[in-house]
Assembly symmetry: C2
């Protein structure tokens, strides 16, 4: 069944039935001109992101479920990056007239799974038609005390919450495999890497989970989520904090899967970690005296951005990462 057979009003009605169950804070959810909530007496955090087919995702390797999950996660990651608790979601969904109801349902299954994971409510949004799939989401959250990119001080340690480079490697893996499949068309396709190596990397790209900072946020002095690349995002944090940083390259946590897949691809796992992007791990700073349950990769200095290798050799860090409107 196609979306054009269902009609916009009945799609909205389906969403309303599915997501209409309100939390106590929601006075009015889906179905009016605006949603209405009673905000807490706290800082209100707001973030929004858009995802466009063939720019941010490729439907030939992303399932609608993964897409729905990722759209919510990348926005929740921005709330977590401020030390906040996510609470509410607004969502715009647009797809071609030939899109199927199965696509729509799969997408909202992914959205719902993420909503449950992060304990948030869908309170509004819109459905429309477009040539390609276009999605945008806005997430609201609260923070008694919020963390910004500003606040890192010389002497602070720099931490990340998990493996870096996995998502970027997963993306390159998919591109390479597709190329191979295209070349080998007609021959029986052999998956070129053990599935248990490729799978976590690809999954980290397709449906990243956002990292909740609750265990360390009270100790952190500044924070950002790694969306465009470790070094470009660290440079943003440093710029706002008016400081510099040393990153010890051998301290950057790289997964075994990344090492193996990068070797297969002929790429440097370290380069993937430094500039790959879409990690959705949190990058934060905390005073050296604080014990923090995360991986220390460097320290804040007064000025400059440097990489230090395992032999202690120091070099100016290249600031690489994904930028729209840049080649």
């Amino acid at each position: 069944m196609k979306l054009s057979d269902a009609g916009e009003l009945s799609l909205l009605e389906m969403l309303r039935k599915r997501f209409g169950k309100k939390s106590a804070a929601v006075s009015l959810g889906i179905g009016d001109d605006s949603a209405v909530i009673r905000p807490r007496n706290s800082h209100l955090l707001l973030t929004t992101d858009m995802m466009v087919e063939d720019v941010h995702f490729d439907l030939s390797w992303t399932t609608p479920f993964q897409l729905g999950f990722k759209l919510v996660s990348v926005n929740v990651s921005d709330i977590f990056a401020m030390g906040g608790d996510p609470g509410f979601l607004l969502l715009n969904f647009s797809a071609g007239r030939d899109a199927t109801l199965a696509f729509f349902d799969g997408f909202f299954d992914g959205v719902e799974t993420a909503m449950k994971k992060y304990s948030i409510s869908l309170i509004g949004g819109d459905i429309s038609s477009s040539e390609k799939v276009v999605l945008s989401a806005t997430v609201l959250g609260y923070a008694g005390k919020y963390l910004s990119r500003k606040g890192a001080r010389p002497g602070d340690r720099i931490y990340v919450t998990g493996h870096i480079g996995d998502a970027a490697c997963g993306l390159r893996l998919m591109k390479t495999i597709r190329k191979k499949v295209a070349i080998e068309l007609g021959r029986k396709h052999q998956f070129p890497l053990p599935w248990e190596v490729a799978s976590p990397l690809i999954e980290r790209h397709l449906m990243p989970a956002a990292r909740d900072p609750h265990s360390f946020k009270k100790k952190a002095t500044s924070m950002i989520d790694i969306s465009d690349g470790l070094m470009i995002d660290l440079s943003r944090l440093c710029k706002e904090s008016e400081v510099g940083a040393l990153v010890y390259t051998d301290k950057i946590p790289l997964s075994d899967e990344l090492e193996r897949a990068a070797s297969y691809l002929g790429l440097s796992p370290l380069e993937l970690a430094l500039g790959g992007g879409e990690d959705y791990e949190l990058l934060f700073t905390a005073p050296a005296a604080e014990k923090v349950n995360a991986c220390c990769i460097g320290e804040i200095i007064k000025t400059g951005l440097f990489l230090v290798d395992e032999e202690g050799q120091k070099r100016i860090a290249p600031i690489k990462g994904y930028q729209h409107f840049k080649l």
Copy 2:
């Protein structure tokens, strides 16, 4: 100069300089992972809308200024439709790599003009690249007491805040003129209607201003903004309120320009008003005893949706209006 020459970071920097001036309620504006505000102890209203090139607008007849203005207006209209005061804006902008800086600047000139008109602050958003221009906005507002689509009671009068059908006629006018221009290619093009007739209709389509309900909102029992069409939006209000309505067709305010242009197009001005859409006038109900500064077009009854003509003939109202995913 192209956006790809400027780069995403410098575009964001431009926006930050331009819109960074905060209102007192904004703790953190553009430039971090999330925006931060201190919400009022009041109902918080939230609405979001997406606009996609060649679906919601056509760059061959919309200027970037008009587009920016309209994107903000249609979202503010949803806040006004709840009886709220708009306060904050988040915005996602995406365009092709060949888009010019002039387009970007023109768009944000339109956004800024609307922001000043509605006294709202831009607090966040994102910039990315895409094949076509894709825009989304989220607007937040406050209401001590909000109005929903629910609340109309039999005996209430039905009001609209201004001329209906102008925007729909403006759109059809542009389509027809384009066709004519295409046919008459090579000949000197004569604009087929006096400019003072066509201009307000076209402008109402391209850059509608949202209607502020402050003068009557305390008296209203229910409200909606007319985005998809008078009758379809009235039917939505009736459905939520569990009532019916009589609409007196000779009471629907039609502009002289609409009458003249519809005659030129060979269309019925009434049909354009009933089902045209994109009016962005407010449609609301109020008790018969209340004096209200708006145009009364009918009354709420127990059930059914009817049109009554100037001779008192009553007929079941066709529910027409724009629906995505419907032909």
